[in-house]
Amino acid sequence: MSDPILTGEGLKKYFPTRNGVIKAVDDVKFQMEKGEVLGVVGESGSGKTTLGNMIMGIYPPTSGTITFKGQPLPSRAKERPIQLRRDIQMVFQNPASSLNPRRSVRQALEVPLGISRDSRSMAERVDRLLETVELPIEYADRYPEELGGGEKQLVAIARALATDPSLVVLDEPTSALDVSIQAKIINVLMRLKTRLSLSYVFITHNLSLMRNVSDRVMIMYLGKVREVATTEEFFRNPMHPYTRMLLSSIPVITEAEEAVKPQRTQSVGEIAGALNLPPGCSFNPRCSHVMDVCKEVDPPLIEVAPRHWCDCHLYPDEYKATQSV
């Protein structure tokens, strides 16, 4: 049944700086099924974008491997065969800076279209691509400054789809947009996913959005995966104290949403600096359940409930107990 398109194993990315080593991603393990939307959620400094960049080969991991469709992925984009580079594409957060202001939409799309052979004319292919992302074909000869923020992001999406990828890394694709525009972009993305059988790594800080688009949610905090579960299970039963704090901090607008939030966990403390992480579990200074062991041992990521992984000293024994019954 399991048909993983992308897996990561022992993935680390350390950045040496003058003042010490920043562990941006520290021993991350994940698995993603074909056709799935994997939501990578975290606050700033959690390593979510670093993870996305490693999948893209923008920079190589310090250690660990990424496997794509059963084959180990060369760590740098340059070392990847063109077919592989075509197959994994990325959409960045801010379309205003990811599009070249001096290139028309047509010019932006012709570059990636040019690397694959196709019997149709280039003009024809640009038109089809614009239709795919639900933009009018007249937009081909416009420049980014003539487009709204949402339209620019659709062009960026079209550019990513030009090479006919099967995996797209979406790095906060709607964070720079207004909520009324965000809805439109998300809907286009979800329609495209079904129609072109894509898989998405969806990086965001917005859990409310993840509730609506992802199949699986992965929570990161200071370079570590803290909790992974299917979206249903995740929102029904958030287990990690950090996840609960995060969920209870989300500003919501309806009473029904308030009911979903774990009410007892109030946000306290600060996110630790990346250069001086606390020993043990990096969340321990903010955790309301902190125990002595948390200050010494970083808990491993283990399956604490069926298809629900969490790294917290609170859980392993309880689950084992329920399993043996």
Partner: protein, 325 residues
């Protein structure tokens, strides 16, 4: 008498391309001790509105009409001396980006001392100034205030910088505090802390508040009343609960619907189209280009009509003569 009364405010900006007609007759009132929110998407005139109240607009702005009455006096026509008294002792503002609001080359002590000395007519000794500074920092829930005073902004985290900004605003905001997206640039767990802190302080001191945000959830538990802005106009006003549970203006309805919900259910379509250009805004209702209920009469400017339970909406749908069946 209302503490603050903005009447039919019109503000334009002169730019290279021409004149941006931004605020198009904005009216709002704030009673003593009341907390109101202004919500709307980017560039809808929220910040321009509150900056007019403090007379902090950029030099290319043109006051094209209307008045701002604070305690009965017109702020826009006030002599400099009086305006300065207002800013020293009555009202202050917390800005969106805590790093940009602090001067990077001075310690917190130098900056906070300056504000404290500026805000009073008495001559304060060094000891007294220090004492007051510590009090304000403590009110803003900053641990180790003595260490904070000696720090430069770069030595503090984003959350702490925003707390320092709140402390600085409290020095002068004895009657009115304007908070312009105070949590937007912070992580969600930190934003939650900042918003709870702000609410506690203003409730204890009975300070009136104008809270600006584009994140609808953050105002919900904070303010008594909400103004919804769209393209430089106020489209709906009413009690917070009513506006969220039973929005009346088509824009408010669509905006609230477009927010992804923590309870799931998919993302709705959002609002099609773009915000009109301020260079050539529609002559009447400014939402007309995106409104599904568009009528002929919408080419004239709608006044605020009573709508729903205690709300008012600037829409001809609520005018007896124009109401469709």
């Amino acid at each position: 008498m209302a503490l603050l009364e903005v009447k039919d405010l019109r503000v334009n900006y002169e730019v290279y391309e021409g004149v941006l007609k931004v605020l198009n007759g904005v009216s709002l009132t704030l009673e003593k001790g009341e907390k109101v929110g202004i919500i709307g998407e980017s560039a809808c005139g929220k910040t321009t509105t509150v900056k007019s109240v403090m007379r902090l607009l950029a030099s290319n702005s043109i006051m094209a009409g209307g008045e701002v009455r604070y305690g009965g006096e017109d702020v826009l026509k006030m002599p400099k001396r009086k305006l300065s008294d207002l800013r020293r002792k009555k009202m202050s503002m917390v800005f969106q980006d805590p790093s940009a609001a602090l001067n990077p080359v001075f310690t917190i002590k130098q900056q906070l001392y300056d504000i404290i000395k500026f805000s009073t007519d008495d001559h304060l000794s060094r000891g007294e100034t220090h004492e007051r500074a510590i009090t304000y920092l403590k009110q803003a829930a900053l641990p180790e205030p003595d260490r904070i005073l000696e720090s430069y902004p770069f030595q503090l985290s984003g959350g702490m910088k925003q707390r320092v900004n709140i402390a600085m605003a409290l020095v002068s905001a004895n009657e009115l505090l304007i908070a312009d997206e105070p949590g937007t640039s912070l992580d969600v767990t930190i934003e939650d802390q900042i918003m709870r802190l702000l609410k506690k302080i203003v409730d204890e001191k009975g300070i009136s508040v104008i809270l600006i945000t584009h994140a609808l959830g953050t105002v919900k538990n904070f303010v008594d009343r909400i103004y919804v802005m769209y393209a430089g106009t106020i489209v709906e006003e009413g009690p917070t609960k009513e506006v969220f549970n039973n929005p009346q203006h088509p824009y408010t309805q669509m905006l609230i619907k477009a927010v992804p919900k923590l309870t799931g259910g998919g993302v709705p379509e959002g609002i099609l189209g773009q915000v009109p250009s301020y260079l050539k805004p529609p002559p009447g209702c400014r939402f007309v280009t995106r409104c599904p209920y568009r009528m002929d009469v919408c080419d004239s400017v709608p006044r605020m009509f009573p709508a729903g339970a205690g709300q008012r909406a600037a829409c001809f749908l609520f005018d007896e003569g124009h109401r469709p069946k």
